[in-house]
Symmetry: C3
Subunit: 493 residues, 3 copies
């Protein structure tokens, strides 16, 4: 506890505004060289960094912390980094040999894209967890799945209409980057350098394709997968920002994964929105009832939580599935979480790269066991039980299990109508092409991808409300199935 | 005024952070016993309570306040409660005889579900108002209405498809609790007790069905109806939280009652979101122009409002319809507010439990008179007139009346097409079954339940904007009617 | 710089809370007369004003500022205004001759509707810029365009169904005011005065039609166009409020112009929502990296921006298109910005008042040149480049250009199906009536007005995410076109 206090004291004395210590002396010469121009050229970046912990604390100070809240998980750091604050050069000049985007810039080998491998120097544990997180694999999980590729084409390809026929082109790279890959991540490739006029005269810079991108599963020029910036945006890289729900909203707001919408209409979201100005988002461990009184996304899924007396309630994790038993989104049915983060290896017994068959049978060998589901459920419930009694938590979980079963049953009805249409030749299914590129297939997709997901997110995130009923919920799920039936009967006549 | 000051002084000296008085001395022995375990076991609950007024003020102190802002409306409180702060035991051990969920717990008769009847000990007036509030009757208003039961089934029942037929099961209790009853409230019933291992060894606890639930019309184990926690979430039970719009959002955000969405896109919502960090949400009376400069939901519908000089502008009410003349949502037409909160007693002249006929004729004997409408309008306008001139307010109300008339006329067009389809046997209407379980009926439902409501909420809440035009508004209302016409013509061929 | 400091000192000493100067002495006698009643009658208005800069600073003090951040752009102000703070009378009694809504009120000629012409007394430059802003012309741009008039009727007209026919009335004035004109602005006309009982006895007041309204293109009783209050709401008229995104949300949230929705799910919006409580919204120039670290709507489109050292990055403008090259919304294709703010003068080569033909050919003579597009792009990019490197910004813009091209191509597919339906007589197109009043036409409208716009806003505002893919984005654009094809094939049989 003394050490925690002394860490707090260090932090306090080093905050730029405290005036108690000389920050400048702890900034490396290389970073000082960066700042000498970029403070003027990129004031937004530098200002954001100056507001950050990185600009005020050295790795050595971070490693001196021995309390559970310690944020620097590595035990050692390179000699040239350990006693300077984490500035421009500390990140942008690391591991230059690995970075294909590294270029000579005023005497330094600088790279554009700072990657999880760079962050791992100080945050080794978090990087390892994130490497095992399904999000880090988001690019390959989409691009290496033939069936998902058809969905991507259906969404991103440009349509044309000629002589009574509708045709669709393969989506181009810029469109994919602007659409699915905004969240899933692009491949960043390094092209030939170009010369640009700058305030320092003409200089050469690499030109990157797939850039800009901050997708969770970005394929980086140093060969690593993933990015830390989707949740810890540049250049403050703040834990507090990642703990607020807007970080998650960026990719979890649409009808396929309406987590933020459901949260913001939930009891938890209500309390958060009413009280967040009184909470402490910087403390770690994050103390339930003291630092905050209702969970954000991070509290349930990521953060190191403690009771008011400091007892640890949940360990910090950057593998988001550690506390998840069900995978509440399809395709096309909810199912136990996959065992491995690279989901493109999953094959159902009909040979499709799906975690269930189209009839709903799970590809069991690729999914976690019911014992493992139980363990993860208990991990999550530890957080719930800090505010709710056992009977409350049990009742809630029973309701979620019921929702998974009922929505899966309803999605089966939708899929059977879809299969009837495929069988009758009213649409061309997976045996003959894409199951996603005709109108009736799009209605089917809405049913399982949007409506069923809304219902399950609503159920999973503390209960019901409009998103389980009227707002994108059960009324739409059932209506879409009735629309499919109506369409089928009309076209089958 | 002196007393108000002295109340403020009491509050100040008793705030935990002030260090000026000994809170512990005022906590009852019973609550102290609860805290001795639950502070560790449920830090979230206890932390939230510690931040509350309840933890800092005794009923005696609350009753000593004689200003209009007084929050404890009861004139007396039981001897054992009056001089201790309102802690765990004060609520969870009240009226044990009435509580079927009461159980022996470490020497105390504790109940799980604290109800409005418990809160009434100190907040008698608010409880009486709420008992007369349509929200307290939300369970029965839904469950005891045959026609609404068909809508509930249509939304919550699970669909199956077999041999070209679509069938729908009765919704199960968990699904209903997760959907409609999340807001309307469940029935909470008490089952056989179970034994659970706890930090104190094995203990017995009751098992509740319909739990968890915080619906506004919850049917409680002590026989009471309603809940205070939908708006004053546990365990801070804060007035400030209820005054912010997120409290209402939980149940008034979906397309059927898009109050929050409309508010957050309105001028009032704009000012709120920009300035709320500068406002005082704790003051009562809530002084217009001093504590806040644009209304939240509570300001117009609930709160005790005063001018800057303390003159009362609107009395506090927990009967939400006190300031409402129109009921701007159907089914299926907007109409004058019902006279009584239990709307399941309403029967239109065709024998359906609806406030209007399907042709739009109001069931007048169940609805308030035009004189009463005028009185309620004036009550609401008192708040409007604190910021707006008479001409502004009149112009706005004229527009709302016009919107009610025009949307009712448009919903009539939708209903006439629906009736034509029923008459022609293209769908089975209320004479032959459910009017809500076929595709064309769902489109009709979207028209009056979603689109017409959006338009009216937009008009009622300060005017128009996207929710009256493009965002779920008039364009969709008209489009759905054209879709019905298109469908009818195609199927009637 | 000294003057800036002295301006800050003046401001500080004049803040009501500072107690350092006598505000009352600087309030004009006329305003004092207003306040003597209205402080009681309209506490909300007066309280809001008391919190404002207007209540604390005189025009003379505003004009003494010589730094770039100066907010009073006029060089002179009338003698009777220059040394008093800007109170009720200063605005509501200006230019009485021009104001048809001026009326005698307790010895003063007071007008109801304060207009941009009134504000121009002190804010001459902003008023001139706004007069040249497309928003100031929003009323005429809608009402004077025959084709748009058909869209307005399609949305706002009341439908009726009789003998198998659907008919639509012309929308009435109140409905239009409640719908499209809420944002576009009404015409405000002055009717005969009425007498009303007041606390001062009976008094006469003018009755206005088209009132209330705060639309951006309001047609005012003094003959001016526009309003300042949509973004600077009464009676604080705050720059800080206009800098927050909620000001824009009021009219830019719906599916046709989903700017706020996209922003709030973007990286910029994430950082804003997480950090706005730490930012300074009152400083001007608005210093990037110091006052704020991620842009709001105003930062990119309106505000005077500076680097941390005060160097100007972007000039303040109230002509919103100064930094815009593409007009990313149709009808019906994205195209270069119009040259002039009065877009109703635009005619395409088929004689329709549209900036492109229905086949997508731009009406070039009415649109800015590619050189001008380049200039505006550079103006906008100056802000981007304060946080992002050139390669990032270039990559982002390349993606936007691609999105414009691809969505235009897809809208062409939709339009070709629409034209096929018109040609085949399955619907009545612009040659025979309204192209907006049949079901299939509504689907076409959804495609170009809602889905294509979502995709483009998502692309334009920092990149993708759900609004470019699933949330109202590409999946819906393509689905609507497939629906049109499905409909066409069924009806053409």
């Amino acid at each position: 506890m003394l050490r925690a206090i002394s860490f707090a004291a260090v932090l306090l004395c080093c905050l730029p505004s405290s005036g108690l210590c000389s920050e400048t002396a702890r900034v490396s010469d290389a970073t000082q060289a960066c700042l000498s121009c970029h403070e003027t050229v990129h004031p937004g970046v530098v200002g954001d960094w100056r507001s950050s912990r990185h600009s005020a604390v050295t790795p050595a100070e971070g490693m001196a912390v021995k309390t559970p809240g310690r944020m620097v998980s590595s035990e050692t750091a390179p000699d040239d980094l350990v006693n300077v604050v984490v500035g421009c050069a500390e990140c942008h000049t690391q591991n230059p040999g690995a970075h294909k985007d590294s270029f000579e810039h005023n005497g330094y080998d600088v790279h554009v894209v700072v990657t999880p491998e760079d962050c791992a120097t100080c945050h080794k544990t978090e990087r390892a967890q994130y490497a095992d997180n399904v999000m880090a694999h988001a690019y390959g999980n989409l691009e290496n799945n033939t069936l998902y590729g058809m969905l991507v084409k259906s969404v991103n390809g440009t349509l044309s209409y000629d002589k009574g026929k509708l045709a669709q082109s393969e989506p181009n790279a810029e469109t994919n980057a602007d659409s699915c890959l905004y969240c899933h991540g692009t491949i960043i490739e390094v092209g030939a350098p170009v010369a640009r006029d700058t305030v320092m005269g003409e200089m050469e810079f690499p030109v990157l394709t797939g850039w800009p991108n901050q997708g969770a599963g970005r394929m980086n020029p140093d060969g690593s997968m993933g990015a830390c910036t989707p949740c810890h945006p540049r250049h403050a890289f703040s834990m507090a920002v990642a703990r607020k729900p807007y970080a998650c909203k960026e990719c979890h707001n649409g009808p396929d994964v309406p987590a933020y919408k459901v949260y913001s209409a939930s009891k938890h979201g209500n309390i958060y929105a009413s009280k967040f100005t009184d909470w402490n988002f910087k403390a770690t461990p994050w103390k339930i009832g003291k630092d905050f009184t209702a969970p954000t996304c991070a509290a349930c899924h990521v953060s190191l939580l403690a009771g008011a007396d400091g007892e640890i309630v949940a360990e910090r994790t950057h593998k988001m599935t550690d506390r998840l038993s069900w995978r509440i989104f399809g395709p096309v049915y909810a199912h136990p979480q996959p065992k491995l983060p690279n989901t493109d290896i999953i094959t159902n017994k009909n040979g499709l790269q799906l975690p269930t068959t189209l009839d709903g049978q799970p590809a069991t060998e690729f999914l976690i066991s019911s014992e493992e589901m139980q363990i993860r459920r208990k991990t999550m419930q530890a957080a719930c039980l800090s505010c709710h009694a056992t009977d409350w938590v049990d009742g809630y979980w029973k309701r979620l299990d019921n929702t998974v079963a009922e929505t899966n049953a309803t999605v089966l009805a939708a899929t059977r109508i879809m299969q009837a249409a495929w069988n009758k030749g009213l649409a061309q299914g997976p045996d003959k092409g894409s199951p996603f590129d005709e109108y009736i297939e799009n209605i089917w997709t809405e049913a399982w991808l949007f409506s069923a997901h809304s219902v399950r997110y609503s159920s999973a995130m503390g209960g019901g409300g409009d998103y389980g009923a009227f707002a994108d919920g059960r009324i739409f799920l059932n209506m879409q199935i009735r629309q499919m039936k109506d369409w089928f009967d009309l076209h089958a006549k």
